[in-house]
């Protein structure tokens, strides 16, 4: 019975993927026909096809999950990414452990969003909808084509007793939620793009398309940002190199659409208010969508690590074709519609909110462009010169950090500058306080290490004297951390003063108490004050980055049990080594105590661990492992002996079999300092990772990092989410405006 259900599941899943493709294809065709022939019937059919395709996609995903849950190792995909011993949450998360499942998840998320789009616009936007449906359905059909032709998730092989299992590094809570979050972000930008394209096709290039999709854009942007932060958090706690961002192609891939998306969120405000920048906004939404697809492509194809793998990775050519068509098709459409996109107003002054937004847009797009260039440089150089040249993190930092600082500065300038035309007198008055605070912070930091900074100045000028621009730019980097803190202080001051000013005005006008005035101020202007909170979040994140990269400490030590290590303001005592055999690994856990060097108080117990996941296909290893597990009784001498024996067995087996019989993984131990007793250490991490443990003698070597302020990044991430949610919440004024515009539109084409 069970086996026939499993058969049916696989069959159903397989054909659901096919059915979804056919339906999505039909939705694309019917949408376009409905739009071109202005036919209600066709549009209706297209919309229903989207809903049906969503059903089939979800069904397919459910079938694959069911395959995982029932350990159906006939499925290649289940065999590769799961095993009988895998815990339930990881069996589900294994859905996005590999290529086919990731694509399936991607398209399922897109399908759900497309359905929400269809359902919320059943009676609205009748002119835009057929085309919007066509665009979204085309994207869906493309991914479903990949799933049908290139990467079938339900490919079958012989029944196997057990699966390979998920990579131990991926068995992590954060890794479970990171990819879906990121994917929601990537996928979400499809909807604003679809409406943008629909607006261009139907020549309804007013404000309706971006008003309808305002919250879509904001949601996608929030998810993408959160996904990026989750990814760096995972890298930080799991990968064990003490850092969180390496300008890795996969990281860059998610950063680029986020940057252009941020630019779009700002510049669209100018179009709302003045009817300017219509072409620019359309371009930004096209860019953001294409970068999202490109990001998915980078993540999935492995093209950067090797162009050769691109030729063999079969999804590459499909992606390139799709991207090419999407980008140049949209561009041609945009050019054809330039006549409809004329600006309704002009920039009135270079000292205005609009102008500051324009600057930030240039920088956002500029940074996205550099990141794109540097990330794809290996491909470009190989294509044009035959030699593959890669770009390391120092280049990324050298190019992007200065501009990121200017961007941070603008986050403080923008809010204080009036729309249209700011006067110098007012600017001086409004900025006096914040500038003073920023300067004070800068001087304070510089005076802490006068000699160091003076010599940095000297070195910079010396390098410039030798006409070595690169060296000069490198020397100048010494000033980035204090500058970051100074600019951050300035931005914080301006944003706080914005809250303060707004509250005071309300108190005066409505005769309200301070707290009520503040609450109403924020809840009546959610988007604006949500935005300010995001600005504060960015300041916090910048502080974390500056602190943890400029003042970090790193060292390697070798200890025996009982020995004490002194690093900075900490003492770490290596108490004892504990050996364990857990369900899928054996582990050597270093038990250590962390003390405050000043007064000797215990700060934390640490337990960094080195794990070996034995390859149980070796019978000798399997039986020894099962035996050790059976002995259970942790702490008993024979248990310890049997685990030590396992470590020895792996080593001897490796030299005999001439291959590795285990997958190592390492667990970091982190102690975050939140005590207000040590303000200088606030948000600092003591981060220790074992690099080598001898299970026989207990001798262990560690790499120790002290990462000051690093927790500000994660704290800033929470603030970012809070501010973004505030901006996404329904806003009465926005809703009325949208409803009014939609009603008129509906009346016009009823």
């Amino acid at each position: 019975m069970e086996s026939s259900i499993q058969d049916a599941t696989i069959l159903l899943g397989h054909w659901s993927v096919f059915g979804a493709f056919v339906l999505a294809g039909w939705a694309a065709i019917a949408g376009a026909l409905g739009g071109a022939a202005r036919s209600f019937a066709m549009t209706k059919s297209a919309e229903r096809a989207v809903l049906a395709a969503t059903g089939f996609t979800l069904l397919a995903a459910a079938c694959l999950v069911r395959g995982f849950l029932s350990d159906d190792f006939r499925l290649d995909y289940v065999y590769l990414y799961s095993s009988t011993s895998q815990a339930l949450p990881y069996k589900i998360a294994a859905l996005w452990g590999g290529q086919a499942g990731s694509l399936l998840l991607w398209v399922a998320l897109l399908a759900v969003m497309a359905s929400i789009m269809v359902l919320t616009n059943r009676r609205h936007n009748r002119a835009l909808m057929p085309w919007a449906v066509a665009v979204v359905a085309t994207t869906m059909a493309f991914f479903l084509l990949l799933l049908n032709v290139v990467e079938p998730p339900f490919r079958m092989g012989p029944m196997r007793p057990d699966g390979v299992g998920l990579n131990p590094q991926l068995k992590n809570y954060w890794m479970m939620i990171h990819p879906p979050t990121l994917y929601v972000g990537y996928v979400g930008f499809t909807i604003p793009f679809a409406f943008g394209i629909a607006a261009l096709i139907t020549r309804r290039t007013g404000d309706l398309w971006f008003r309808t999709t305002r919250r879509w854009t904001l949601c996608a942007w929030t998810f993408l940002g959160t996904g990026i932060l989750l990814g760096s958090y995972w890298a930080y706690i799991e990968l064990g190199w003490g850092g969180y961002w390496a300008w890795d192609p996969v990281e860059n891939a998610s950063l680029m659409p986020w940057l252009t998306g941020t630019a779009f969120l700002h510049s669209v405000m100018i179009q709302e208010r003045k009817g300017m920048l219509k072409v620019w906004n359309a371009l930004l939404v096209i860019l953001t969508f294409c970068l999202s697809i490109f990001g998915t492509f980078l993540t999935r194809s492995g093209i950067i690590s090797s162009v050769h793998s691109f030729a063999t990775s079969n999804i590459g050519p499909f992606f390139v074709t799709f991207l090419f068509l999407a980008f140049f098709g949209s561009l041609v459409l945009l050019i054809l519609r330039l006549g409809d996109l004329r600006s309704e107003a002009r920039l009135e002054s270079i000292l205005s909110r609009e102008a500051s937004f324009l600057f930030n847009n240039m920088i956002f797009v500029g940074i996205a462009g550099t990141v794109l260039l540097l990330t794809t440089f290996p491909i470009l150089s190989e294509l044009f010169t035959g030699r593959k040249v890669t770009m390391g993190p120092p280049i990324f930092n050298m190019v992007n950090v200065p501009w990121a600082l200017v961007l941070l500065l603008l986050a403080g300038v923008g809010p204080l500058v009036a729309w249209r035309k700011a006067s110098t007198v007012n600017l001086k008055r409004n900025f006096a306080g914040p500038v003073l605070i920023g300067t004070w912070v800068l001087l304070l930091l510089l005076f802490r290490d006068v000699r160091g900074y003076l010599s940095a100045v000297g070195k910079t000028f010396a390098a410039m004297g030798q006409l070595d621009l690169a060296l000069a730019l490198e020397r100048v980097q010494a000033f980035y951390p204090p500058l970051t803190f100074a600019i951050g202080a300035f931005v914080t001051a301006t944003v706080v003063s914005e809250f303060w000013r707004g509250t005071r005005i309300r108190m005066r006008h409505h005769d309200e108490s301070g707290a009520i005035a503040l609450g109403r101020l924020v809840s009546r202007n959610k988007r604006r004050y949500g935005g300010y909170i995001v600005h504060l979040a960015m300041v916090t994140i910048f502080f974390g980055i500056a602190g943890s990269s400029a003042y970090r400490h790193e060292s390697v030590h070798s200890l025996v049990p009982g020995e004490i290590l002194e690093v900075g303001p900490y003492w770490m005592r290596y108490d004892q080594l504990r050996l364990v055999a857990e369900e899928d690994h054996i582990g050597a856990i270093v038990e250590a105590s962390l003390f405050d060097a000043k007064d000797g108080t215990v700060l934390a117990k640490l337990a960094p661990e080195q794990r070996l996941h034995p390859n149980l296909q070796f019978e000798e290893l399997r039986s020894a492992f099962v035996e050790a597990r059976r002995l259970g009784q942790e702490g008993s001498p024979e248990y310890q002996r049997s685990v030590v024996g396992l470590f020895g067995l792996i080593r001897s087996l490796e030299s005999r079999a001439q291959r590795e019989v285990k997958t190592p993984s390492t667990e970091v131990a982190i102690h975050a300092s939140w005590s207000l007793m040590h303000p200088a250490r606030l948000a600092e991490d003591f981060y220790v990772i074992p690099v080598g443990i001898d299970p026989d003698t207990g001798q262990a070597s560690f790499r120790v990092f002290i990462n000051p302020m690093v927790n500000l990044i994660w704290f800033g991430g929470l603030l970012f989410v809070a501010g973004s949610i505030l901006g996404v919440l329904p806003d009465a004024r926005e809703r009325n405006r949208l409803a009014g515009a939609l009603a008129l539109e509906d009346r016009a084409i009823a």
């Binding site: 590094q169 990968l239 190019v399 490198e474």
Partner: protein, 140 residues
Amino acid sequence: MDGRQTKFVLIGAGMLISMTVLIVAGMGRSGGFSYYLTVSEFLVDPRPADDRYRVNGKVVQGSIDRLPSGHDVRFAMSDGTRSLGVHYNGIIPDTFVDGADVVVQGHLGADGTFQAHTLLAKCPSKYESADGAEGAAAPY
């Protein structure tokens, strides 16, 4: 085009130029750009002192010799035609196992082994895009 627009175009052009300058300047620095080669390509013309080589290949089965310190490892990597002995000192990523795709950066030592200061490893067949699995490269 009026004065303000001209100003904007000028500022935009200025930004573009400065970004280009920064990129070009950045390429001159160590840790900046590097040639990405296969083992055979590298062995055709190895320049011992030059640090600007990233060599990629697969770890030869059974060649991994982890030294007791825990952060030293010797192994051989190959691209299917030729192989290269490597000595690496630093954090060994968990993904570094037999058959893994690796990229090493460093220079050719006097004894003919490649002295690597950076080791990036990608697990074979598991999770095609292990995010940031490029373990050792830690700018922060």
